[in-house]
Amino acid sequence: MKKILVFGATSAIAQAIIRKYAEKHCEFLLFGRNIEKLEILSGDLKVRGAKSVHHLIVDFSNSQSVSQSLHNALTLWNEWDMVLVCHGSLPDQEKMQNNFQELQNEYEVNLMSVLQILTVASNRLEKQNSGHIAVITSVAGERGKKSNYAYGAAKGALIIFLQGLRQRLQNHNITVTDLRPGFTDSPMTAHLKKGLLFSSSQKVGELAYKALEKKKDVVYLPSFWWLIMRIFCSIPEKIFKKLKL
């Protein structure tokens, strides 16, 4: 049975993914900041079939806390089969423009904490010569736009980081999956109006699970985002900069 570490386990998309693995009787180590939520989720996974569930408290905006939780994870489990990184935060772009402190804080959550996790995880898996790393990025990471470039740039950095990591680890029998959702109906987007392009977090989670099982490198969730992004990225910058997006 797979041993899976889940960072940001309480995210709506993460829950949908790991419920599928619970049915397969996997073992879980969940990371999150809210103990009540983690306990509810642990109970849920157990009833659904998980063989064992542990959880660790972590604040991804604090690198000390991340490092402590990674340390604990290393002592708890010496064999890691899958590392799933799901946490993230969608900040208010305007706030970021006027307050560098806020921006820095967001980068801790959306970028730095993930790099910290990937550094430890990649070395761990490299040593084992096996395993699977998966990170939720975003289509927002493919091209910057006025309304959310702070968030987009952090996700964009992750996309590039994962590309390099994938090359580095491919000779070690390690898969690196970039799970790239489009608009997803989840607490993160609760304040937004839901248009036709929105998918449910259940659907995104189930598609992500299928892609992981197929050991995909990059997957758009759902796949129609691939086409949208090809069009979106082919608009010449001269025109693009004038668009209201």
Partner: protein, 433 residues
């Protein structure tokens, strides 16, 4: 604040319904003048809507809490759907004790409408199998409710239309089964007399019974239809797989369900069996949930939406009243697409506002054609009143205060348990608030 637009299954309301989806039991509710829980919106009328305040969407309040394989006792959050419970527990040999005709219903919604299924004559309502639940009231007061604890809230909340507070989690008694298969029989009947006879016979030896009636047939064929009965099969070995439903992505044009197409449909449905009795073993999915294979089938009624009309008539006056109801409907040109007839048994629900009671229940639906549809339903009301019957709020978008009072003689007692901050469009319509 979430801007998703919530609606009920009949799609009759074109107002904006604000909602906030809860993800966790302990989550703080956004400020609002009033609240109403919202499950999956499978109620047809306005009992799951609150256009004056905020809907508390529970579909993500869907965590399982505990399950005992020895006793079949399941604790889960209220937004867990019956679909999810079936997927998880049928392979383990356990089934929900009572199921309505769709799996897209939450546990909370099933309690608040105290839903019934094809086994009412054997098992009573959903509420009969709810051992306990937690009720969260607007003042942040949390009540553990069961027959022993806060029992008056327990009785008021089962069938309580979401007005007594938010059910956050519930404990259900699941039922042991051998597998996902049902041994079913489909028996055509030529008229209502044959139905009455079949129902009495079948309710003895079959756990599940229901019948579909062609409401456009008149004269000697009045009330012809198909009687469907079944029991859990002991067949366990055959491989069972679940099919993806087909989605209806847009509203059909308003003319698509004219009386001709309904007549063709009803006739086809009747002759599906070529007048012969069918006996076979089928999966639980087509047996219990024939409509679930078309997601959003309500869109075939077009933009104007549709009405359902479900009543129950006490046994003494059942036969004559049902016959009268069919007579009136069969003369109405914009006939019903689905007519479902079933006998309810004598097992009493703990809910004081529960709809099911011993008698015959008839369920009809009508595309919304404005005043003529309303007039027809008003005519049906008179017959139901005369028969001493009741109407089902989960299916209602138009009943009068008079109908409500005579359907629910305990309603005054119920007022004491309504949460002061909970409110529904159904309630304001009935009481003209």
């Amino acid at each position: 604040m979430e801007k998703t637009n919530f609606n009920s299954w009949g799609r009759l309301s074109h107002k904006v319904h604000k909602g906030y989806r809860l993800g966790w039991k302990g989550e703080h509710w956004p400020e609002s003048s009033s609240y109403l829980p919202f499950g999956l919106g499978r109620s047809y009328g306005d009992s799951c809507l609150n256009s004056q305040g905020l809907l508390l969407g529970t579909s993500q309040l869907d965590h399982l809490i505990s399950f005992s394989d020895d006793t079949g006792e399941l604790a889960c959050e209220s937004g867990v759907s019956l679909l999810e419970l079936n997927k998880i527990f049928i392979p383990r040999g356990w089934f929900i004790p009572v199921t309505p005709g769709t799996q897209f219903v939450t546990v909370g919604g099933a309690i608040a409408n105290d839903v019934h299924g094809k086994n009412h004559h054997k098992a009573g309502t959903f509420g009969c199998h709810v051992k306990a639940f937690d009720l969260l009231r607007s003042g942040n007061e949390k009540l553990r409710c069961s027959k022993e604890e806060n029992s008056s809230y327990y009785k008021a909340t089962i069938g309580g239309l979401g007005l007594t507070g938010l059910i956050t989690q519930a404990t259900l008694q699941m039922k042991k089964i051998k597998g996902p298969w049902i041994d079913q029989e489909i028996i055509p009947f030529k008229n209502l007399d044959e139905y009455f006879q079949l129902a009495i016979e079948s309710d003895q030896n079959y756990e599940y019974t229901v019948s579909w009636v062609d409401c456009l047939a008149r004269g000697p064929s009045l009330g012809r239809g198909l009687f469907i009965r079944g029991n859990h099969s002991s067949l366990a070995s055959k491989k069972h797989s679940l099919k993806q439903p087909i989605n209806i992505p847009f509203n059909f044009p308003d003319f698509s369900l004219n009386s001709l197409s309904i007549k063709i449909f009803n006739t086809l449905y009747f002759y599906k069996t070529f007048g012969r009795k069918i006996k076979n073993t089928v999966s639980y999915v087509p047996f219990f949930y024939p409509l679930d294979s078309l997601t959003n089938w309500n869109r075939i009624y077009g933009r104007r939406g549709f009405f359902q009309y479900q009543c129950v008539i006490p046994m003494e006056k059942g036969a004559e009243t049902i016959r009268e109801l069919f007579k009136v409907t069969s003369h109405y040109k914009e006939g019903s697409f689905l007519a479902v007839l079933k006998n309810f048994g004598s097992l009493k629900s703990p809910g004081i506002m529960s709809f099911p009671r011993e008698g015959m229940t008839l369920c009809l639906d009508f595309p919304n054609k404005g005043s003529q549809t309303k007039k027809l339903m008003n005519d049906l009301d008179k017959i139901v009143l005369q028969g001493g019957g009741a109407l089902y709020p989960a299916k209602d978008a138009r009943m009068s205060l008079e109908m409500f009072e005579s359907s629910f003689p305990n309603w005054r007692e119920f007022l004491d348990y309504i949460d002061p901050q909970f409110h529904s469009d159904f309630w304001s319509r009935i009481f003209k608030k």
